[in-house]
């Protein structure tokens, strides 16, 4: 009997577990599995650290629900391997606070369900095959991540994550509705494709917040005799737009139903964040020569109406719009250093003067770590520039396989973050908040910390 119990205990100890059992390595991690024969780590991040989304979609929209989750999976060993073969493992994600039922019942998200096919012709926000909510890329609120095998990570772009109704949430509703939680949870699980066993699991922050436009524009509409609601705002916005460009956007009726709207600004103004290289335009209306970033930021920073009647500091007051509503999404380590948004991104006046806004979201105009930090390896041959800039897609460590964000956290939420939730993952991995600097997180033969930026290490 004793033998049976002993064998059973040993079996229990070595059996595949991904959740809840503390690792017996020196770091005392929990939530990361020692899945039988395979000792795997998964580290997930959001791509930008914040995604803004509009509250309603009946009139005009800037940004649709669109969130991107990334994960790197590492086989622990003396020589760890990055796992990105979909034949080997399966990586699943789930946005914990967003369910199909909760979003279908959300009055603001219902506007998306109704209007998104008009905004994006051909798009079906509910997958007819399974009745589930899907985003512009087909991504759902839960599912399998796509392997980026050549790059060494897993990704799901276009998850239609949306701020969750939550009376305790930090995000206020400028239309007076209940507060919401903009810091959702992205749960990521790694399974062995051969035996279906859960190998590792982690949670990361998936941020989604309402942009701050309505906070001012509702008041602006009211101050000019229009209803203090999105419809009044749209109507007045149309007049303002007409004053500048000759085009009253509140008269554009893309679906021909006799009711103006819904329209999206990026239909006429290039916005690389929408994944387009040319704005599609509306029939009968010209495409603008100005990017969305240029017109929006330049107008607000230079308009005497804005400066004198609304905010003389709008050029440095990023939270007025990004995202606003009480969500201080810039919450990472740099906050503790007294750095403001403008210290990395420049203030609007500076960016306008330098012509940056004609090239938004580009490697040329986004901040680089090397602007302040040495020994980042930038320029060392493994910088992967592309849309969204240097930090986001850069990799380092030996063989340049580890995303900077995997160890340092997502943009705007660099470890250690001032939002406790952001730090849960790094604490689970190494026992303390901060950049992943414990070699033993991945290396079975190492303890302590090393120099992860030294490619010869």
């Amino acid at each position: 009997m004793k033998k049976i119990v002993t064998v059973a205990c040993v079996a229990a100890l070595v059996s595949g577990v991904g959740v809840g059992l503390a690792d017996d390595d020196e770091h005392g991690q929990s939530g990361q599995g020692s899945g039988g024969a395979r000792d795997v780590r998964v580290i997930a991040t959001n791509d930008l650290g914040m995604h803004c989304v509009c509250m309603g979609f009946d009139t005009f929209i800037l940004l649709p629900p669109f969130n991107t989750l990334r994960a790197q999976v590492i086989q622990r060993a003396e020589e760890p391997r990055v796992l990105a073969d979909p034949n080997d493992i399966r990586v699943e994600y789930n946005i914990v606070e967003n369910t199909d039922d909760s979003l279908k019942a959300d009055p603001y998200f219902q506007s998306w369900l109704t209007n998104s096919p008009k905004l994006f012709p051909g798009f079906q926000p509910i997958d007819p095959a399974d009745g589930r909510i899907q985003g512009l890329t087909g991504a759902k609120l839960s599912g399998e991540m796509e392997a980026k095998s050549s790059q060494g990570w897993w990704e799901m772009a276009g998850i239609p994550a949306y701020p969750a109704l939550d009376p305790e949430g930090v995000m206020i509703d400028p239309l007076g509705g209940p507060n919401r939680n903009p810091y959702l949870t992205g749960n990521v699980k790694v399974y062995d494709q051969k035996n279906g066993k859960l190998l590792a699991e982690t949670n990361t922050t998936v941020p989604a917040a309402f942009g701050g436009c309505c906070s001012c524009h509702i008041d602006l509409a009211a101050a000019n005799g229009y209803p203090a609601d999105p419809y009044g705002s749209f109507e007045y916005m149309g007049l303002l737009h007409e004053g500048d460009s000759g085009i009253n956007i509140a008269q554009i009726d893309p679906d021909g139903d006799g009711v103006p709207g819904p329209i999206r600004c990026s239909q006429c103004h290039l916005d690389p964040a929408m994944g387009e290289t040319t704005p599609p335009g509306y029939v009968g209306y010209p495409i603008s020569q100005y990017t969305f970033s240029d017109v929006l930021h330049r107008f607000h920073a230079q308009s005497n109406e804005v400066l004198t009647n609304w905010n003389p500091n709008i050029a440095t007051d990023c939270y007025q719009c990004h995202p606003g509503n009480g969500v201080d999404c810039y919450r990472g380590h740099h906050v503790d250093k007294g750095l403001w948004c403008t210290d990395c991104h420049g203030d609007l006046n500076q960016r306008i003067a330098e012509g940056q806004l004609q090239q938004p979201w580009s490697a040329a105009t986004l901040p680089k770590c090397a602007d302040c930090h040495s020994n980042t390896g930038e320029g060392g041959g493994y910088l992967n520039m592309g849309i969204f800039g240097a930090y986001l897609n850069s990799r380092g460590h030996e063989d340049n396989k580890i995303l900077c964000s995997t160890c340092h956290g997502e943009p705007h939420a660099l470890y250690p973050s001032t939002l406790a939730k952001d730090n849960d993952q790094s604490i689970a991995l190494q026992g303390h908040a901060g950049p992943i600097d414990a070699c033993g997180v991945c290396h079975t033969d190492r303890s302590g910390t090393g120099n992860p930026h030294n490619v010869d290490d």
Partner: protein, 351 residues
């Protein structure tokens, strides 16, 4: 007799908290929520920024707040602010928002430049006549003053009022075509109420204070207008007199500060519900860092912390900056209508 009076005055001086910061701290303790020492510390942290003061409005906010919180601006900080301001002046006399953007002077930033230099007692460092000429160059045939000389730029109430303030500060208000300017300003008046940001539309506290202040400067504020503006300000949510009404949007600290500016200018602050106003201002105080947020539920911003300080000044919880500098050493201080003044230590209205 004279000796007795002198002794009483001397004892009174000794009994008074002599420094504005100590006075402010006492008041803050009485208020029970706001720690102005913490607010002062926050401003001092911002001074450490390489790009301090970052912009022209921030320069003013900083100088004003330091005066209110501690009665002075340290010489080295004053030097930094002054150097920043002077580097923002353009060839035509106007001021830009920051250095390196001197191709874009604006009346708003010129206003903040002059106000700040005046607070720091450095106004004599600038060529006043040049600034006056710049401001007058922006006046239009309809009496309005544009924000900038950019083609297509049109004057509005706010740009006109800031222009008037600049001229007033520089002692050149008589250079204006007053009648036309008054007519321009009055176009923004809502019948029987306040002023709006655009002609023919609803009143806002911000526009109403700007309009009222400008008319007063131009000696054009009639008794009827004064009364109607009083009624308007006291009828807004910010006077604290409206109970049990639900609003769609959240109240804003900036709007509260302009409402208090307006009530103060009209001598009607004592008719407002001071307790309700104080409670609102206190609710936007962020104890973690001593700052203020712009609306309920939001975190600290530099601008809203400035507006919080302005509200505390109007509520008598901080001394008025102009008084603090110009009457330094004098036991009398400017009385804010109906509220605490340093002449009456121990008497407060904040409970």
């Amino acid at each position: 007799m004279k000796g007795i009076l002198f002794s009483i005055v001397l004892l009174y001086i000794i009994a008074l908290p002599l420094t504005p910061s100590a006075w402010a701290a006492d008041k803050a303790e009485e208020a029970g929520v706001i720690d102005t020492r913490s607010t002062l510390h926050l401003f001092m942290e911002w001074e450490e920024r390489k790009t301090f003061p970052d912009s022209m409005p921030f320069a003013y906010y900083h100088a004003y707040a330091l005066m209110a919180l501690q009665g002075k601006v340290q010489p080295e900080v004053a030097e930094k602010i002054t150097a920043f301001i002077l580097s923002c002046q353009t060839r035509n006399g106007g001021f830009a928002v920051r250095p390196a953007l001197t191709q874009n002077p604006n009346i708003l930033f010129t206003y903040y430049a002059i106000k700040t230099l005046d607070l720091l007692d450095k106004i004599n460092l600038v060529d006043k006549n040049k600034i006056i000429r710049y401001t007058l160059s922006l006046q239009q045939d309809d009496g309005g003053i544009k924000g900038s000389s950019t083609n297509g730029d049109a004057p509005n109430l706010a740009t006109t009022c800031y222009g008037i303030e600049v001229l007033k500060q520089l002692g050149a208000i008589d250079s204006l075509e007053k009648e036309k300017t008054v007519a321009f300003i009055n176009r923004y008046r809502e019948n029987g109420a306040g002023f709006g940001v655009s002609v023919g539309h609803g009143s806002t506290p911000e526009a109403s204070f700007l309009g009222l202040n400008a008319l007063e400067t131009l000696d054009a504020l009639t008794a009827q207008t004064r009364e109607e503006l009083s009624t308007y300000f006291l009828g807004t949510r910010y006077a604290g007199l409206i109970k049990d009404k639900k609003y769609k949007t959240l109240p804003k600290l900036k709007t509260m500060s302009f409402t208090l500016d307006g009530l103060h200018a009209l001598g009607n602050l004592d008719k407002a519900d001071r307790a309700a106003i104080t409670a609102f201002v206190e609710s936007l105080y962020i104890p973690e860092n001593g700052g203020f947020g712009p609306m309920p539920g939001l975190g600290t911003t530099p601008a809203s912390t400035f507006y919080g300080v302005v509200c505390l000044v109007h509520l008598g919880l901080l001394p008025e900056p102009a008084a603090a500098t110009r009457e330094q050493g004098n036991i009398k201080s400017k009385r804010i209508n109906g509220l605490v003044s340093r002449q009456q230590p121990g008497k407060t209205h904040n409970k």
